[in-house]
């Protein structure tokens, strides 16, 4: 009896906390449907009854949004493809071979992940300025690649190590070439790993703000996060159009939330993986 009451109280507390944690996200979606007249009332509108999609139409009709979307897609696509190829090759080297210098490389890819952006962005800015690559897709991609390759390599290494070499060797005994064995046996087994680490790399590049704000200063080169910042600051005679700004936030956040849900299981488990088992 006492236990049931205890569990019931716990459940009630959990629901209240869930409300608090989800509220900002709910408020973003709610506000995105409200018209300027409703939203500027002193009393908040708690449920978007009578709302419409006009804020979304306004955002989608904004050239700056489309341009930023294009920029984000191009940068993310380039980084994602190159990152997966480079990291796959490197993860094979460290997952399958013992060689001189291996430990130094592993140490390097772990250490560089610890380095905060603010400890490096001045130097990266100066490098790109010197090479005339500020405000260019190539410039920002070079830096992003260096940012995502280490952790992708590290993550794929685990998957590569999980695939027994014997499988590949068996295929080679059965007449496959080394490439053939890789393509037919190892690669399909690696697919889940590539998807998971690909989503991680996508999230990092797609969300990146700090470096982009320094490197991509021209508004026509802005990525989506930069666009959202500028959009939120632009105001109409000193009044921010919060409905449109929230619609913009929703559009930026939705793909991220969707992809995030795909990999969320790995997220917590991966970061502290070894520790749980002691």
């Amino acid at each position: 009896m006492k236990r049931t009451v205890f569990r019931g109280a716990g459940a009630a507390l959990a629901l209240v906390l869930a409300l608090v944690w989800a509220f900002p996200v709910y408020w973003m979606v709610n506000s995105s449907f409200l018209t300027p007249a409703t939203i500027s009332k002193l009393e908040p509108t708690w449920v978007p009854f009578g709302g419409n999609l006009s804020n979304y139409r306004a955002v989608l009709a904004d050239n700056a949004f489309t341009s930023a979307l294009g920029m984000s897609l191009v940068v993310t696509a380039i980084c994602l493809v190159l990152c997966l190829v480079y990291a796959l090759l490197a993860s094979f080297a460290i997952g399958r071979f013992r060689f001189k210098g291996r430990k130094s490389f592993v140490l390097a890819i772990i250490v560089v992940q610890m380095l905060p952006a603010e400890a490096m962005f001045i130097a990266q800015y100066k490098m790109l300025a010197g090479a005339n690559l500020l405000n260019s897709v190539i410039g920002v991609s070079v830096i992003y690649l260096a940012m995502v390759v280490p952790f992708t390599t590290w993550m794929l290494r685990g998957f590569v190590a999980g695939i027994p070499v014997d499988l590949e060797e068996a295929a080679m005994i059965d007449g496959c070439t080394r490439m053939g064995a890789f393509r037919r046996v190892t690669f399909p087994l690696l697919a889940p790993g590539l998807v998971a680490s690909g989503v991680f790399a996508f999230l990092q590049v797609w969300n990146e703000f700090a470096l982009a704000s320094i490197i991509l200063t021209e508004s026509q080169k802005a990525t989506l996060p930069l666009w959202l910042r500028d959009f939120a600051q632009s105001s109409n005679l000193g009044v921010t159009e919060w409905g449109e700004v929230m619609a913009g936030s929703v559009l930026v956040a939705i793909p991220v939330i969707v992809f995030f849900m795909i990999v969320q299981g790995r997220m917590a488990q991966g970061l502290v993986g070894g520790a749980v088992k002691g």
């Binding site: 996200v25 027994p164 939330i257």
Partner: protein, 318 residues
């Protein structure tokens, strides 16, 4: 999303480890590493080298316009360490890091313990709510936060003003520095608690029922069970989580920068990240900014060394 730049380290299935191919004089692994190494050398190696060199050079506005930058030894560092403003900002950053990490850990652990005792359906509701918060991109987080605390139409001021005798309509939360950092702390905590809660919860599921039952039979109170049985078992997870939170809460450039964009800006609202940005990009003092960045880099590496060692060990075991 606070999960930046840190590697998930699990292998999907811990199968029997394959025998490594060991051959002398093999070239293949080195060839496979070339693209990754070249990427790292260009994107990180060159900038870091530039930074180390320039932290020892005089590199200000004059040098921007063509004067050669001369080596000045430790002058930049000495100037930095004798500057009261730098110390103020450095201490503020460390205090902010410690406070945010502590609040996040306490709430995260409490959430995990709660999730362990409540019925499954309510646990799932809480988990979904936390995933939503966790998944929000930083810029969206900050934009929404700014709307919530908007001085006139923000829902926070409205709700606070419902309390009799309280009038918060028109209150600017970002004007007073302490309030400014309070807002930053709340937002960052809100976004980081899910990761801590999920990780600790995963750790708690490793605590076997038998051990708990044995403890109960021996007459341990719930508090004793927590302190003497559960905490020691999940200690390794907690240590890593604290480390990660400290690293992440030291690197909060984006959040602070965005809050400054929306609200008040200036030295009094700076943490190390925005300070370096102002010094370098804002004032063109690249030598001084490089030195300050080196301090942040060394500080981060010192904090994260334990985590690096653990990952290395994990690599050796596999």
């Amino acid at each position: 999303m606070t999960t930046t730049m840190t590697a998930p380290a699990s292998s999907p299935a811990r199968v029997e480890q394959p025998p490594r191919r060991r051959r002398r004089g093999q070239k293949l692994p080195y060839i496979l590493l070339i693209p990754a190494i070249v990427t790292l050398l260009i994107g990180l190696g060159y900038p870091v080298t530039w930074q180390i060199l320039n932290s020892f050079k005089e590199y200000g506005l004059k040098q921007q316009f063509g004067q050669p930058a001369e080596f000045v030894g430790f002058d930049n560092y000495i100037a930095l360490f004798t500057d009261a403003v730098f110390w103020q900002i450095a201490l503020r950053s460390v205090a902010f890091m410690a406070a945010t990490a502590a609040v996040t850990m306490v709430i995260g652990i409490a959430f995990a313990l709660l999730m362990k005792v409540i019925p499954t359906w309510s646990r799932i509701v809480l988990q979904v709510a936390m995933l939503l918060a966790w998944a929000m991109p930083i810029v969206a987080q900050m934009t929404v936060a700014n709307w919530l605390i908007d001085d006139r139409n923000g829902v926070l001021n409205y709700v606070l003003s419902l309390i009799p005798g309280v009038d918060y309509i028109g209150h600017d939360w970002l004007r007073d520095p302490l309030s400014f950092f309070g807002v930053a702390l709340v937002i960052i905590t809100w976004a980081s608690v899910p990761f801590v809660a999920f990780s600790v919860y995963a750790g708690l599921t490793q605590v076997s029922e038998e051990v708990l039952e044995a403890g109960q039979l021996d007459g341990a109170s719930p508090f004793q069970m927590l302190r003497l049985i559960i905490m020691p078992i999940i200690r390794p997870v907690l240590v890593i989580l604290i480390l990660l939170q400290l690293i992440w809460d030291l690197r909060v450039f984006a959040q602070i920068q965005l809050l400054q964009d929306f609200g008040a800006a200036g030295e009094r609202y700076d943490l190390l990240g925005t300070y370096i940005y102002g010094l370098g990009i804002g004032q063109g003092q690249f030598g001084a900014a490089a030195a300050a960045a080196m301090v942040v880099m060394i500080l981060t590496l010192a904090v994260s060394w334990g985590y690096v060692r653990r990952l290395l060990k994990e690599d050796e075991e596999s």
